[in-house]
Amino acid sequence: MSAEILSFETGRPAAEGEPALVVDVAGYEGPLDLLLALARTQKVDLAKISILALADQYLQFIEAARQIRLELAADYLVMAAWLAFLKSRLLLPEPPAAEGPSAEEMATALANRLRRLEAIREAANRLMNRPQFQRDIFPRGNPEAIAEIRHPKYTATLYDLLTAYAVQRQSRVLASVHLARRTVWSLAEARASLERLIGMADTEDWGCLDEYLLRYVPDPSQRATVLASSFAAALELVREGAMELNQKEAFAPLYFRKRPAPAEGPAPMPDL
């Protein structure tokens, strides 16, 4: 036992007693890494390594760490427990027809895991030693821009086209209708004019509505609105009994007069 400890601690002054350097666990990337580091001290091919010796070294390392109350990650303790189990299996005679892998197989599996980790580390090393892009080898420092010649391809849908056409055409037409509306004769205006007309006509003679109205319509385009409003106002005045309207036939000129007193008979129509 003590001989093994000494061989494990080679290079360190044995007089110190405290295996401080050995338990520098922070430098290891987990229990496998620690095992690999310990195995290297055996200076033999991993295939020929003594797993029993390795297990002993590991357990001593853990024990030393515990003596100086170093907190160890659970991984390390799990590995220690497993190695202690493996060690006891390796030392005891193999029970006949045991279930599961034999102790030898378990030892080989561990050796293989160590070999595999060592192999991938070696590969990682070689990978990182390859000439690396932008560190060792470089691309063109001043690449030349490839000029782009753009060919526009225009899109438009039939809907866009038709909407554009319709909107343009009717916006102008509807806009002019809107302008005319501003000069429209309101019903109130028409009624006021008609009442004045009736008041002015002190006789009960028939007058031609169209002729009178023309005086109020300086712009021929307003004729329709004046006529329509006046007609509506006239109908209202007839209903109220203020005036009478007469028309020979459809679209013929309209005649009006102040409604005579009820005693008198209807005046004769003017001869047309």
Partner: protein, 245 residues
């Protein structure tokens, strides 16, 4: 693994050094000039070279070596850099198509041309109530959907415009007569049903035969359809007051 050509070159050249029969400084210069983001002057290059290298002579040789290649070593303002050979500039372009939507003004002018063809620019403006910008007609000519088709027999002999076959295919129309008329436009709600009775929509026709009031185009006019940037016709008013901002 040098090529056969290089091997023969090696045999022919006895004076050169280096494993491949080429002075090592040429490799160094190649690498430095290639990787540098900027042209390098002789002094800067010399500082990076091993002692005793005649940098100027090496650069001259490198320039000669690359003279016939697709990439040349050129000196610009006393600095050296690799550049694509001048005669290969065409190779450095990439053609791409990009889809663009027509502007509203262009669509509007196109619609007027489609329905009212043959139509002059002045007539388009009369219908739209706005001056048509030169750019709008340019874009439409570029689309290939309109073409100048003749000249109106009126003072100034303005160009008349009409639509093309590619206009039909763009809008999936079998014939121009398939464009909806007044009643159909009203039916789809695009036209207001309260429009005054005098309102008409023409029956469009793209018959290539010239109308009675049209003269054929002159030889110079035909170039318009090839050259997209064109002043098709002097507008009735100055072109300053345009319909696009």
């Amino acid at each position: 693994m040098p090529s056969l050509a290089e091997k023969r070159m090696d045999d022919a050249e006895d004076a050169v050094t280096g494993p491949e029969g080429r002075p090592e400084e040429l490799r160094l210069l190649e690498a430095l000039l290639f990787a540098s983001a900027e042209p390098l002057d002789t002094a800067t290059l010399a500082k990076r070279m091993p002692d005793g290298v005649d940098v100027k002579a090496a650069l001259a040789r490198l320039q000669t070596e690359y003279a016939s290649r697709g990439v040349n070593l050129v000196r610009i303002a006393n600095k050296w850099t690799f550049r694509t050979a001048g005669d290969l500039a065409w190779l450095m372009t990439r053609e791409s198509t990009e889809t663009r939507r027509l502007s509203r003004a262009a669509i509007e002018v196109l619609a007027i041309i489609a329905y009212h063809q043959p139509v002059t620019r002045a007539e388009i403006e009369e219908i739209r109530g706005v001056v048509t910008s030169k750019g709008t007609l340019d874009v439409l000519l570029e689309t290939g959907w309109i073409r100048p088709r003749g000249r109106r027999k009126t003072p100034g002999r303005p160009l008349t415009f009409g639509t093309t076959e590619s206009f039909l295919s763009q809008f999936s129309l079998e014939a121009l007569g398939d464009l909806p008329g007044l009643e159909e436009l009203k039916g789809t709600g695009m036209l207001d049903t309260r429009l005054p009775t005098g309102f008409t929509v023409p029956t469009p026709s793209d018959d290539p035969a010239l109308r009675e009031d049209e003269d054929p185009l002159e030889p110079a006019d035909l170039e318009l359809t090839l050259a997209p940037h064109v002043e098709p016709e002097g507008g009735p008013a100055g072109g300053d007051n345009e319909d696009e901002s």
